[in-house]
Structures are given as C-alpha cells and as structure tokens.
C-alpha cells in the first residue's frame, strides 16, 4: 500500500496499489471506515487482477477535492518537522495510541466536505 509513488516505483514490489494521500494515510483517513474499506477492497482485488510483476495500480481516491495544500506539507520546503499535533519531534519518542480526548489538531490541512472519490 503506497502513498509515495516514486519511492514504490523504484522498489518495484511484485504488486502495488497507490493512493495519493498524505504520508501515513496509506490505508485511508482516520475515522472513515467506509473509505478505508474501499481502499482495502481495491487492494485485495488487485492481488487477483494485477498480472505482471512490478505493476502499480493507482486508486482514484482524492484526499480533498477543494484543498490541495496538504501536498506542500510532507518534506516540503516550509516543513519544519513532524510529531503529535504541531510539536516538532526531535528523535525517537513513545506514544500510547488511543482515542485520547483533547489531542491538539494536526497541522495537516483537514479535508472539507467528507472524503471524495
């Protein structure tokens, strides 16, 4: 499952699907199970339909039809670092996953109007 087309193309796995989403969302958006399910269904179907080693199938999902500012965030010239919320991560860190209340908003632009296809 890839969200980095050029990196995956170079690796050339036997089969690959690509979703043009920000990094760290390879199997969908947080708390959108229908979208996650759609991506996985396409990926599992690709096991059966891809027929040549090295093929990479691009899935049609769009992160946000109206807002492409996410494209500038990952490793872009303005980016300063990553971490939980807006904190810059200075190296390894441990976090407990969970639906903790009161998390600061991500600095990643949020999509508007739900997921799109």
């Amino acid at each position: 499952m890839s969200s980095a087309w050029d990196v995956t193309f170079a690796v050339r796995p036997p089969r690959a699907v690509f979703v043009n989403f920000p990094l760290n969302h390879e199997t969908g958006k947080a708390n959108e199970p229908a979208l996650q399910r759609a991506i996985l269904l396409d990926a599992l179907r690709a096991f059966e339909t891809l027929w040549q080693p090295g093929q990479m199938l691009t899935l049609p999902y769009v992160w946000d039809r109206d807002d492409r500012t996410w494209e500038d965030v990952d490793y872009g010239p303005q980016a300063t670092g990553y971490g939980v919320g807006t904190s810059v991560q200075g190296g390894f860190a441990e976090r407990t996953l969970g639906r903790a209340a009161g998390r600061p908003d991500t600095h990643l632009p949020r999509s508007h109007g739900g997921h799109s296809q």
């Binding site: 390879e26 990553y82 939980v84």
Partner: protein, 154 residues
C-alpha cells in the same frame, strides 16, 4: 499528481550525500494460489506499533513484533522516528487496518487473517534489512502458512 518525494528530500537534504533509494529492475512473482476470498492474508507494517507488554523499539532496530489478529488496536503503542502520527493516534486503521481486515474476513472477502500481524520500525539501511530482518519475517510468514502478505510502509 503524486508528490515527487525522492526529488523533494534530495533538495531538502542537499547538504548531505544523496540517500540511496532502493532501485530494483525486476520483481519476484508468485501467482496467487487461489481466490483472495480463500486466502490467508498477513498484515505487515513499518509503523513501529507494538503492544504494551512488548519491548519498545530502539534506534536502528532490526526487531519486529507479533500483533495477534484479535488485538484491540486502541491498546497499541507506537515508537518511531519522524512520522506524523496524530491521525494514526486517532485511528490506527489509517496505517494498520486490523479492524477493517477483520470485518472483511467476516464478510467473506478474505479467507482469514494470519495469526499475527508483523510490525516493525523503518531501518534506513537496506543491507541490514535484508540481512537481519527479512529472513525472520519470511520464516514467520511461512510458519503461519500465509497465502498473501499486505505490506503497509508508513
């Protein structure tokens, strides 16, 4: 258009020698042995997720963790270097879709899940990955008699 990450990171880290991205000119190939609805599927993730009773990952860590297929993913911890984990924190399914895969097993889309998902942390050295971790991951997959492996690089 997909983001050109290789070019972008080369520019961002222009002061350093360029990173040697893995470049393969061909791929191994095993035809899918049976329809995916009859297959045992294993999830592999490089997101650094692990259970609270397992040791956490370390810098340059070639180890991996076995995450049982019935795990409540809200109990997972993540230990990693420099990826944006706030959405993973809100909903681990965006990189570790164990809930969704279980639902797909129940719906008959996949035959079953392997007993364990395999979780590890990115190693920047491809040489060490191949020498130190890949043989162990392969042994795990063979021991679980997996038909298909779903890899999610994070």
């Amino acid at each position: 258009m997909p983001i050109a990450y290789i070019q972008r990171t080369r520019e961002r880290y222009a002061a350093y020698p360029p990173y040697h991205w893995t470049l393969n000119h061909d791929s191994p190939w095993t035809p899918l042995p049976k329809p995916i609805k009859d297959c045992r599927v294993a999830l592999l993730s490089s997101g650094g997720l692990y259970l609270p009773d397992q040791p956490r990952f370390e810098d340059n860590d070639a180890s991996y963790r076995r995450i049982p297929r019935d795990t409540d993913i809200d109990t997972l911890r993540v230990y990693h270097h420099a990826y944006r984990d706030d959405d993973v924190d809100r909903d681990p399914n965006c990189v570790f879709p164990l809930d969704r895969l279980r639902e797909l097993v129940a719906a008959g889309v996949i035959g079953e899940l392997a007993d364990f998902a395999l979780s590890f942390l990115t190693l920047y050295s491809a040489r060490r990955e191949l020498a130190e971790r890949v043989p162990k991951l392969l042994a795990e997959l063979k021991a679980m008699a997996v038909d298909a492996a779903l890899l999610v690089p994070v």
